[in-house]
């Protein structure tokens, strides 16, 4: 840890203040620890300390069989468990060259997008709460609850779904579920307007987010950011578009990008993603084909020897799985995850320099990190 450096001011010698923010702090979204070096309230430097939620999921996975790992992936980004499941299952399917039925791919798309909305709801709520707008938090959670209800009806769980199987789905959709999804889309359309009313043109919100934590497109790429933080800086990179998986190739949607690369643009990008997700859900739900939900999967899953990397667009960014199989055992030889939160967190240090303490919490919120995924 850095020792306080002496600053030679105009009149007095002043010390930098080292402020330890977290791991127990209301706005570090779990157990993130940021060691700030402050000059007054201005951040001179920030040290991001992680590892408080490390559970060894990668190593654990090397001792579980291929199906059991799905359950572990739930626990990484626990606010978007379904996308984790999809990413993992698709990676294994890619290794085994399995054909996934079209119906299963459609359902995966719907679940992924519902999950994106749920995750963004949580982001919006906590981000607004960090900046002091407490009502948005409860509004966003109210709508997230509706999504959790949909998931509960589909797979019985509300947070860690374990909702995919290699080669397809564990269950078919319950009857009438698609109507409820469309109903939800209708509600969400209205509620989005409510969030926007409270924030988008709010003077205080604008002052708190505009010009805060500006990252240029080049900087964002250099830092390895992905997802909304990258798109907020104006880079139109979306894996759903660039390397379509599930049924995204058959969907029409736009990729929202920002221009300024500040907190406000990242906010706008995510809000637009709400709308695009609703658009995708509507298309997928209306066009869902009949057919089997699981492809031809061998009884014993044992991918051939080799290594595979497959990435999907999780709500937080590029979620990639790098898996090595030795072709002999029923568990992976090496299991490695590229979590978007971990990589996006790299941006924090570059963003907070020169800003105030109040902006640090706004920026942590703006990156939308989930510590379960950062530490795994």
């Amino acid at each position: 840890m850095a020792t306080p450096a002496l600053h030679h001011g105009a009149m007095f010698d002043t010390n930098e203040l080292v402020l330890n923010m977290g791991p127990q702090h209301p706005s570090t979204h779990g157990v993130l620890r940021v060691v700030l070096r402050l000059d007054g309230e201005k951040v001179v430097d920030a040290d991001v300390v992680i590892g408080y939620l490390h559970r060894g999921i990668e190593k654990l996975s090397e001792n579980r069989n291929w199906t059991q790992i799905i359950l572990l992936t739930d626990r990484m980004d626990y606010v978007a468990a379904a996308t984790n499941n999809v990413g993992y299952c698709e990676t294994v399917e890619k290794m085994m060259a399995l054909e996934v039925p079209r119906r299963a791919r459609y359902v995966r798309t719907i679940l992924c997008e519902l999950q994106r909305i749920a995750s963004h709801c949580l982001w919006l709520g906590t981000h607004a709460m960090d900046i002091g707008a407490m009502t948005v938090f409860l509004y966003a959670f109210r709508e997230r609850e509706l999504i959790l209800d949909l998931f509960e009806e589909f797979c019985g769980a509300r947070l860690t779904y374990n909702s995919m199987r290699i080669g397809g789905l564990p269950l078919d959709l319950p009857p009438g579920w698609d109507k409820k999804v469309l109903e939800f889309c209708k509600i969400m359309d209205v509620k989005l307007g409510e969030y926007e009313e409270l924030l988008t043109h709010n003077r205080i919100w604008l002052e708190r987010t505009k010009g805060i934590g500006v990252l240029s497109a080049a900087q964002a790429v250099d830092l390895g950011l992905s997802g909304p933080p990258l798109r907020g800086s104006g880079v139109p990179r979306d894996i759903r578009k660039d390397e379509p998986y599930a049924a995204y190739a058959e969907m029409t949607f736009d990729v929202a990008i920002g221009t300024a690369g500040d907190t406000y643009d990242r906010y706008l990008v995510r809000l637009e993603e709400f709308r695009q997700s609703l658009r995708i859900i509507r298309q997928a739900t209306e066009g869902i084909p009949e057919g089997p939900i699981v492809g031809k999967v061998p009884r014993l899953i044992k991918p051939p020897a080799g290594e595979t990397y497959h990435a999907i667009e999780s709500p937080k960014g590029e979620l990639g799985y790098f898996i090595v199989s030795d072709g002999k055992s029923t568990n992976p030889y090496r299991f490695r995850v590229r979590p978007p939160s971990f990589c996006n967190l790299q941006g924090l240090r570059a963003m907070v320099k020169g800003h105030l303490v109040a902006d640090v919490v706004a920026l942590i919120g703006s990156l939308d990190v989930v510590l379960g995924e950062v530490d795994r």
């Binding site: 209301p26 402050l38 002091g132 707008a133 409860l138 509004y139 708190r208 105030l356």
Partner: protein, 340 residues
């Protein structure tokens, strides 16, 4: 004997108790109103609709362990909550809740005292309260409270000047510093000063939010940034004193705003004879209703707005509010001279 001692003492007793009970129920009101704004129910468990929640809270806070951090400055740490609480309570001495009431054959004035520098007294006493926050942050010997106390002092100098300048323009219009005389001036001019001094009212209200550390200017507590700010290290009853002081200050600001701008105990439209039937409602009821409206707006604002950053508050104070207040004062002065 009775007029000089017993009645004032009784009045003080009543006002103090009413304030403290009002403050605890203010907390419940805030929780309820914010809950309704956020489509929740709020406290529902203690008593019907949670109306006994303040009692439970009070008992909880009183029996909690009272911790003084080892490295804290003990005397200042103990004194800070008191410095915060006492000014908030003694301000009520000059607030006119009503005109007169006839009780047991005596004319009793519905204010504890009417001193001729009433407004000045309020301004000076109310600004002492901030020292409680500054000292609490300083004496805790902890970093978050320290930052909070820095913020509190920065905030103090940014809004206090503007608020006081608006009060001066009210004094110019009313021609008196006495709170009772200010209400009487509104009675004789047949119009609430809200309509004479709308700009002063707006600045006073914004300043009032800042003075009471309420959202969107609650930087010194800013839970999400400073983990509670100046009262991070406080627990039990000492924390409760800070908490009560904040709400007592809210009531003070509402009462002062009511007195200065909304005609105190006067009924609405005191100049319209057709509404004379409203006069049957006693003056203190009007006063309470008007203050309640303010308190409600305080809560409403908290439920709606995000928090300003403290440099932005200072910019707002120095670059917007103070110039506007000075302009308002100058214009008021010129108009006053021309009309005389």
């Amino acid at each position: 004997m009775i007029d000089n001692l017993v009645i004032p003492l009784l009045k003080i007793l009543i006002v103090l108790n009413a304030t403290l009970v009002g403050v605890t129920y203010m907390v419940l009101l805030e929780r309820k109103v914010i809950a309704w704004a956020q489509s929740r129910l709020g406290p529902m468990r203690v008593g019907p609709y949670g109306i006994l929640q303040p009692v439970a809270d009070a008992i909880k806070l009183m029996i909690k362990e009272d911790i003084t951090p080892v490295r804290a400055d003990k005397w200042v740490f103990t004194a800070a909550p008191i410095i915060s609480m006492v000014p908030a309570l003694i301000v009520y001495a000059v607030i006119p809740f009503g005109d007169k009431a006839r009780l047991f054959g005596r004319d009793i004035t519905l204010y504890i005292s009417d001193i001729n520098v009433g407004l000045l007294y309020i301004v000076s006493v109310a600004s002492v309260g901030v020292y409680g926050i500054i000292l609490a942050g300083y004496s805790s010997n902890s970093k978050y409270p320290l930052l909070a106390s820095l913020r509190a002092s920065a905030q103090l100098i940014s809004y206090e000047v503007a608020v006081t300048l608006t009060l001066v323009s009210v004094i110019l219009v009313a021609g008196s510093l006495s709170m009772v005389q200010i209400v009487r001036a509104q009675e004789s001019s047949h119009v609430w000063f809200l309509f004479v001094q709308p700009l002063a009212f707006a600045i006073f209200f914004i300043g009032g939010l800042a003075e009471t550390n309420r959202a969107p200017f609650d930087m010194p507590e800013a839970e999400q940034e400073l983990t509670g700010g100046f009262h991070t290290e406080y627990s039990g009853m000492r924390f409760a004193l800070f908490f009560l002081a904040e709400y007592a200050n809210m009531i003070v600001v509402s009462s002062v705003a009511t007195t200065l701008f909304l005609g105190g105990w006067l009924r609405p439209f005191p100049n319209v004879a057709a509404l004379g039937f409203l006069g049957f409602i006693p003056g203190w009821t009007w006063f309470l209703i008007k203050s309640f409206v303010f308190l409600y707006i305080f809560i409403w604002v908290r439920a709606t707005l995000p928090r300003y950053r403290y440099d932005q508050l200072m910019r707002l104070g120095w670059k917007v509010l103070i110039p506007l207040a000075i302009l308002n004062l100058v214009v008021t002065g010129i108009v006053k001279v021309l009309l005389l």
